[in-house]
């Protein structure tokens, strides 16, 4: 067997080239598709999470009861749906706010209208930790940011006062920390906290840790490619420069909208502790309780108990469609982002199928090539096959011997194809790295050569080699030993 392969090496190399090309194409595109799914799509749009919001088009007159609110009752109904693993409501601030800060990293003080989104910290915990580890390395011996993303307001209530109410809008770090009024020794608020006054008119309040905030990596990208260029400002090198950046938010005051009553306006200090694709793109994302409290204070109980959207986590990916249907009955529809994710996944699926089909066509052509080569080899080796039969080979033995050679050819072709695909993927990564270098959070390796991809590459090559050798194997089994052996 081994010698047979060696003897007809040139034929085999020729017949195997198609297998190599076909399985290389297949493995390359499957790995790329896997990479796109795992490293881009699933990070942007997690597969087992969907976000719902209230359906804006009401189904009047259809006899279907549509709740007008996404509140605790709706959340409870969602929690009761089969397949639901977790329900995470989100709430936006429902009042105007503005923010300023960032001089340390931007080189000037940014002033922006503030849009705040509140999310359940549990939803992003693992992701924040992983993202931080990726840009800053192991956690030992450095400041850890992600763990601060939680509700910290109730942690310790220490009464404090500022030198005057105006100090809270300034940027003097010492003035902002204020003085503790509980004890007699007039210390400043504890390290890492500031004195948060009850409103802009008051100088009295409690020592608080800054509001932990997340930003979207997309924001940095937009800043670098649009704002920094247009305004001649410094570009930010990477996501890590944003970590720890402090800014102030003034609840109830706007650059655009009418302001709230003065006694309801509050200044809070905030600090960026992470970045996430789940964070609002143009705005700041904070733990949900901060938003709920602020909405309660400025807009009342009714507004504070209504959520903007809800993320539903499912046990299995297959549960998603049924849950989308059930949620529709509750008056909920997919958020634009989730809808976008589904479309992107569909596009990726279609592209994967198209390229897989191209590979299958290449493999099909190589199978035809193998049929021709093997027919020739079987004819050339009629005498040998007749001898096998004379010394006791069954028809099945003859078939299997021929198919076995095809199997070896398929394995070799598939393995070489994988090697070629892997080499090409390295080259593609190198070529892409130039383009992707300034896109924050973009993966350095676009490919995932998972076990199924490797198995598919080899299995398809083997399958098509064996299919191609099928007819020649039957022809070999039909060799008439009597005729062949009695010839000289």
């Amino acid at each position: 067997m081994r010698r047979n392969v060696v003897r007809s090496r040139s034929h085999f190399v020729f017949a195997g080239i198609g297998l190599v090309v076909g399985s290389a194409t297949l493995a390359f595109f499957l790995a790329l598709s896997g990479g796109a799914r795992e490293k881009i799509l699933n990070r942007l749009y997690p597969v087992n999470q969907v976000e719902f919001q209230i359906e804006t088009v009401r189904l009047f007159g259809l006899g279907i009861e549509v709740p007008s609110r996404l509140d605790e009752a709706t959340l409870a109904a969602l929690r009761g749906l089969p397949g639901v693993a977790g329900v995470y409501p989100k709430q936006r601030t429902k009042f105007p706010a503005r923010l300023w800060g960032g001089r340390d990293v931007l080189g000037y003080e940014a002033r922006l209208e503030a849009f705040l989104d509140g999310i359940d910290p549990v939803l992003v915990r693992d992701e924040l930790r992983a993202a931080e580890r990726e840009v800053l390395g192991a956690e030992e011996g450095r400041t850890v940011y992600w763990s601060a993303f939680r509700d910290r307001e109730g942690e310790r209530r220490i009464a404090c006062e500022l030198s005057n109410a105006a100090a809270q809008t300034g940027d003097d770090a010492v003035a902002i920390r204020g003085t503790v009024t509980d004890g007699a020794d007039r210390k400043p608020c504890p390290e890492g906290t500031y004195c948060a006054a009850t409103n802009v008119l008051s100088a009295r309040g409690f020592c608080e840790a800054p509001v932990p905030a997340l930003v979207s990596p997309f924001l940095l990208e937009v800043y670098n490619s649009v704002a920094a260029t247009a305004m001649g400002l410094r570009k930010l090198s990477g996501l890590e420069v944003m970590l720890g950046v402090q800014f102030a938010v003034l609840f109830g005051e706007s650059y655009f909208a009418p302001d709230e009553r003065v006694d309801r306006r509050v200044v809070k200090r905030a600090r960026i502790v992470g970045f996430s694709n789940k964070a609002m793109e143009f705005g700041v994302t904070v733990p949900l309780p901060y938003v709920e409290r602020a909405n309660l204070a400025l807009r009342g109980r009714e507004e504070a108990s209504e959520y903007t959207s809800v993320i539903v986590e499912t046990h299995r990916n297959e549960d998603v469609p049924a849950i989308v249907d059930d949620a529709r009955v509750l008056g909920l529809t997919l958020s634009p982002r989730s809808e976008e994710g589904r479309k992107a996944a569909n596009v990726l699926l279609v592209l994967t199928i198209v390229f897989a089909m191209v590979s299958v066509v290449i493999l099909g052509i190589s199978a035809i090539n193998i049929t021709h080569t093997f027919l020739m080899l079987v004819t050339e080796r009629r005498a040998e096959i007749a001898v096998w039969r004379a010394v006791g080979a069954t028809l099945l033995d003859v078939r299997l011997l021929v198919l076995g050679e095809a199997l070896v050819l398929g394995l070799a072709g598939g393995a070489s194809g994988l090697a070629v695909a892997y080499g090409l993927s390295r080259a593609a990564n190198a070529a892409a790295s130039g383009v992707l270098a300034h896109v924050p959070g973009s993966p350095s390796d676009l490919f995932v050569f998972s076990l199924p991809v490797i198995a598919a590459g080899v299995a398809c090559a083997v399958l098509f080699a064996v299919v191609g050798a099928w007819v020649p194997a039957s022809r070999a089994a039909r060799t008439d030993p009597a005729t062949v052996l009695s010839q000289g």
Binding site: R3, V387, V391, D397, P481, L485, S486
Partner: protein, 228 residues
């Protein structure tokens, strides 16, 4: 020895596809060969010697009539059974040797073991060595058959045929490509096999000296047995 003959052929008719011959290649042939017998099958070229041996060995199954080897009717055997019989019970030797050029001499001799479903491969090397010793070619084991003389090639083919110690050896003009001296050498090997192992021999031949060595002659003419 049991009473059943080694080979029983009765009213065997073999007809090649129309156009080749007006008459059957084998026309109502009946031959019985006892165990341990050495039979020479003689006749002019085209008389049907090769056709008869191929039918007995089951290489050609497309014949009519009774065909029994070792008491078993070939017509009732499936492909697997027939292959097993060729593997263990029958050895073939051809005029053109039919050794596989990409294998060594020893590997050629071992070839039947790769189709032996008794798990015979582990002992095959030793048995192949013995078989080569019997034909006097122990020193050529590692050589490719292309480097052997015609007589040596035929001896290797005999060693391959006797690897599994078959009860029946079917030889089609085994000396046809050999000179007188080497031919005699090969005949001596056959005689020794018959004497020592009790192997039944059926040898188709043109040559008088092979026929003389045999205990009995079956003469064919135009597909019919005319003597024997």
């Amino acid at each position: 020895m049991s009473g059943t003959p080694m080979v029983r052929v009765e009213h065997l008719v073999k007809r090649y596809p129309a156009g080749a011959l007006p008459r059957p290649a084998l026309d109502d042939v009946s031959v019985t060969v006892a165990r341990g017998e050495f039979v020479a099958i003689v006749g002019r070229s085209g008389s049907g010697k090769t056709t008869l041996l191929n039918a007995i060995g089951g290489l050609d199954r497309d014949c009519a009539g009774v065909l029994e080897v070792d008491g078993r009717a070939l017509a009732r055997m499936g492909d697997r059974e027939l292959a097993r019989m060729r593997n263990r019970g029958i050895g073939f030797v051809f005029q053109a040797f039919h050794l596989l050029p990409q294998l060594t001499v020893l590997e050629n001799v071992m070839l039947p073991a790769s189709f032996d479903d008794r798990g015979a491969l582990p002992t095959a090397r030793g048995r192949a060595g013995d078989a080569l010793a019997r034909v006097g070619l122990s020193d050529k084991a590692a050589v490719p058959p292309t480097r052997l003389s015609a007589g040596e090639k035929q001896r290797v083919a005999i060693a391959r045929a006797i690897l599994n110690r078959p009860a029946l050896l079917l030889c089609d003009e085994p000396t046809g490509n050999l000179d007188a001296e080497t031919g005699r050498n090969v005949i001596d090997i056959f005689l020794e096999l018959a004497a020592k192992d009790g192997t039944t021999l059926m040898i188709a031949t043109h040559e008088g000296r092979v026929a003389e060595a045999a205990g009995r002659r079956v003469v064919l003419a135009a597909g019919k047995v005319v003597e024997g």
